[in-house]
Symmetry: C2
Subunit: 242 residues, 2 copies
């Protein structure tokens, strides 16, 4: 195992940061790493908004479900799927629609994710900590308005970056055989039950015995709080995915 | 700049491989890195099919638009968005639908992408080369049938992995100011025109003067070949995204 794989395997989400800023040199290295990620047919169908304005971070923290670390981190990145730039490029030569099919929605969402993950790895290699903020999708229309996102751009997730001021436990993952399949998908139900026990032990340890839950219970609880508004938000933002 | 950021910035897609296999130890390290990536609320809503069977790789290569390297690479990974496992976990406790909104479609697609990018970085750190294969979405229904994907699982993209047998040029990316915005989205049209010239020079060099094109021309050409079938495929596969 090399140093890079050790870093990747050592990832933990950081939600508490020292006051230290992220320097321009660090940001530069992080963005260059993000831009070097693979992108579908070189479309580069993503944008990233770097939020450093204190008032704006506070508003985003509230919109993300009162996640204080969004305002406490020195740099908050909002990773956006962006077909707006692609459309502008296309329109220089053709009057073809760029949306109206799920395909370009997938491309832009994946492009944003690949670039973001490279940024996360680059940040961690610099000793910084990160946490992804899916909570931006609680109020995506308001987030889009605050950041001035045009049609065909949507915020996929946010990312707090800063110097870690905590050392969280590693959260165990599903057993490898649950996610990896050789040559053909195999339906591995036993893995869920085994993992339920793993998570029960982990949560007990993390909460000093206060929380008794399992993975499947957490997943069921999550399913009862769906973000139903995403469909209509995406349509409003110009993404005709269906 | 450290070794990890250098590796990230040095990424190039590899489409020609030596005959060397990917060892079980390498695969193990790659998968552990993938599983350590961030995942929305620990849903881990992805699966990966490792294709080593020669006949199956050949069939996938054809379905991906006759991309020979899909059958020539020793290991072909198919990264899937997977809400099937999540649904099974939820159903142990509640009768809540897990699809019917775009949100879980996004979560599963992003989870697959983050895990895949960690796998790509891990593979490259081991001296292996990778290329993402979006071409799997040319014939996603047939790919799903061959791999036995159940409802609520779809192939987002493939990934060839193997020892590189080529040293491609670096493809220049959009200028940083085209993708990075400070506190607010800025519409940077000049960046497209500047990048058009960058890509013209790059393509001339790469094709020894034979190809004269620009980024926006490539994007327009791509827009004229949409994958219109994705919508109906996703609906067939159980993803009611709209």
């Amino acid at each position: 195992m090399n140093e890079i794989i050790a870093l990747l395997q050592n990832h933990r989400s950081i939600r508490k940061f020292t006051g230290d800023p992220v320097s321009e040199a660090q940001l530069s290295a992080i963005l260059a790493a993000a831009q070097a990620a693979s992108t579908s047919s070189n479309m580069q169908a993503y944008s990233v908004i770097g939020v450093t304005d204190a008032e704006l971070k506070k508003q985003l923290a509230v919109l993300a479900g009162n996640q204080a670390y969004v305002s406490e981190c020195p740099l908050f990145l909002v990773w956006c799927a962006d077909l707006h730039r692609y459309e502008k490029a296309v329109r220089l030569h053709a009057d073809t629609p760029v949306t109206g099919n799920a395909e370009n929605f997938i491309v832009a969402t994946v492009d944003a994710a690949l670039a973001a993950q490279n940024a996360a790895v680059a940040a961690e290699s610099l000793g910084l900590g990160v946490v992804y903020i899916g909570g931006l999708r609680n109020n995506p229309a308001e987030v889009s308005r605050l950041l001035g996102l045009p049609q065909l751009v949507y915020p996929v997730f946010g990312m707090c970056i800063g110097m870690p001021d905590q050392e969280p436990l590693h959260r165990p993952r599903l057993p490898r055989e649950a996610v990896y399949h050789e040559n053909r998908y195999t339906d591995n139900s036993d893995a869920i039950l085994a993992y339920d026990e793993t998570i029960r032990e982990y949560m007990k340890e993390r909460t000093l015995g206060k929380v008794d839950t399992t993975w499947s219970k957490e997943m069921a609880a999550k399913a009862l709080r769906p973000r139903e508004h995403m469909k209509s938000f995406l349509r409003m933002q110009g993404f005709e995915i269906d």
